[in-house]
């Protein structure tokens, strides 16, 4: 009885989750009347705007990951090593992007860094791109910091650092050759989450008026019949792939640890 109830709850739940995905995929395949075809995908891939916005978002995602890693790894390392008293505060700050809605922060960007301000970042294309990059880094900060800090917890930072120092390593060598390889898995899972976030992000890119994938998707949705569903399916596959890669990376290292 109990097991039957449990199964039926899960089943009903799964139907709710699967139906929209089926609906989305079905729509994306039915551009040609009466038969299933990949026509919508063909049209989408042939659209130069798709290629531009998609590669723009991929590029932004990669840059966001690079910036995030360069910012967070040294910080998390330093806080663990030298400023353990600050840890709760730093952690609190990194969680703030989950509390303050992104739309509010980007509103602040637009007011604070407009053309008539002390730092007119929105005045030029490069400046706006940079602002968007920082915005994305801010959005991914909670995930990046948590992942990396958890990674650092599993290694003995102080001993490793001392050992490296006694062998004459400088800070750069310690970070690049000792710390990074040890928290690589954590860095990778933070990176994949960041990738998924940036690829689907809409609010920041739309309000900063940058040609990213999210706003393009919304624009297509307002104007086209089948293409948006093909694009959404692509977006879903990206999210799925990122999460799958996180699982894979974590699982691989678990085996690695067990073998030792």
């Amino acid at each position: 009885m109990k097991r039957a109830a449990a199964w039926s709850i899960l089943l009903v739940g799964m139907i709710y989750f699967i139906l929209p995905l089926v609906g989305m995929v079905e729509f994306s395949l039915s551009m040609k009347r009466g038969i299933y075809s990949f026509e919508a995908y063909r049209v989408v891939f042939a659209d130069p705007q798709f290629r531009q916005t998609f590669s723009y978002s991929v590029m932004m995602a990669v840059l966001t990951i690079l910036f995030g890693v360069l910012l967070v790894v040294p910080t998390a390392f330093w806080v663990r090593l030298k400023l353990p008293g600050l840890r709760p505060y730093v952690e609190f700050v990194t969680l703030l992007p989950l509390v303050i809605p992104a739309i509010v922060v980007v509103f602040g960007y637009i007011r604070l860094y407009n053309t008539s301000s002390w730092l007119p970042m929105t005045g030029s294309v490069t400046g706006t791109n940079l602002l968007l990059l920082f915005g994305y880094s801010m959005l991914s900060l909670p995930y990046m910091y948590r992942a990396i800090d958890t990674g650092l917890r599993t290694i003995d930072v102080a001993t490793l650092t001392e050992a490296a120092q006694s062998l004459g390593a400088g800070w750069f060598t310690i970070l690049a050759k000792i710390i990074m390889p040890n928290v690589l898995v954590a860095v990778l899972s933070g990176a994949f989450v960041t990738f998924a976030i940036v690829m689907g992000e809409f609010t920041l890119a739309a309000l900063l008026d940058r040609p990213a994938f999210g706003p393009y998707l919304q624009l297509m949705g307002a104007n086209k019949a089948y293409e948006p569903f093909a694009l959404s399916t692509i977006a879903f596959i990206i999210t799925w792939a990122c999460m799958g890669l996180i699982q894979l990376v974590t699982r691989l290292t678990k085996h690695d640890k067990a073998a030792r």
Partner: protein, 293 residues
């Protein structure tokens, strides 16, 4: 004659420069998180010339803005209540329902994906399913003669948005509540049974009170999550539904309220609501840790 030994050399005090190490991080956070937020918060209490005022806050009390807050709050409440309930039931079925272990890992992975699959694509997935020509809409009409439209259902409405939001609310609940359910000790159930408690009594008097802070806390988190969701709402309804994120979006784009500082006040209200919900989450979370672990 006693000779005083020379005083020991005073240990050279090394200046503590450790704080320099987090300067880049501090600068980043200050410039791109704190300062923009403060700009909005302070702006909410300023006139155009910079003088202090409460006019903007009072300015929020117009029928349009109040109703946008009210609709937003209703959608967030409905979607987080339903999301918590269904998520809890699914997690409980998975953890305590005696199901095979192999269910667990895929369900948790899927929850990770689904909770991240928000925004514009999610809106399209639901349009394709429950929209006017959607999969389920058409199926109900052709197979059962049920016309959702005629029954008053519209994906671009309160319930449409609520059903869509649940898609990322349920998985979040599952992800957060599963560890708590794992933490329910077997001894508690056995002790209750020894004392003659029925399954219902165990749940209402032991398990649920222990889980309550956790469930309520997650509910608060889901509320904030739904309240701040912009992209899904915009992609789904365009501007046909009057809710806070959509209004604020339009205000930032084109100053539809005709007063920039009223926009600040509106954003400030949004911070206030999500911050309150998050504080509630943190407080309840700390309470729940008393029993679980």
């Amino acid at each position: 004659m006693t000779e005083h030994p020379p005083p020991p050399p005073r240990p050279r005090r090394r200046l503590n420069l450790a704080w320099i190490g987090i300067l880049p991080f501090a600068a980043f956070v200050a410039l791109f998180l704190i300062a923009p937020t403060m700009k909005i918060v302070i702006g909410a209490f300023q006139r155009a010339d910079g003088s202090f005022t409460l006019e903007n806050i009072f300015g929020l009390f117009t029928p349009t803005i109040l109703s946008s807050y009210w609709v937003s709050i209703k959608i967030s409440l409905a979607s987080s209540a339903l999301g918590s309930l269904i998520g809890f039931l699914m997690a409980a079925a998975m953890v305590l329902g005696g199901l095979p272990r192999f269910i667990r890992s895929p369900l948790l992975t899927f929850s990770g994906v689904a909770s991240n699959f928000a925004g514009v694509p999610l809106a399209f997935a639901f349009l394709a399913t429950l929209g006017p020509l959607g999969l389920v809409t058409m199926w109900l009409r052709t197979e059962f003669g049920i016309n959702l439209r005629a029954m008053g259902f519209n994906i671009l409405s309160f319930w449409g948005l609520t059903i869509t939001y649940i898609f990322f609310q349920i998985p979040l609940m599952i992800l957060i509540i599963t560890p708590a359910l794992d933490g329910l000790k077997r001894e508690w159930r056995e002790a209750a049974q020894c004392l003659g408690a029925s399954a219902t009594q165990y749940w209402t008097q032991v398990a649920l009170p222990i889980l309550a802070p956790n469930i309520l806390g997650t509910f608060a988190l889901l509320f904030a999550n739904a309240f701040g969701a912009v992209a899904t709402a915009i992609a789904l309804t365009g501007s046909s539904l009057n809710i806070v994120p959509i209004m604020l979006f339009a205000q930032i784009r084109g100053d539809v309220l005709g007063n920039p500082h009223l926009g600040y006040a509106m954003a400030f209200g949004m911070i206030l609501v999500t911050a309150l919900a998050n504080v509630l989450y943190i407080v309840l979370r700390m309470r729940s840790e008393r029993w679980l672990k």
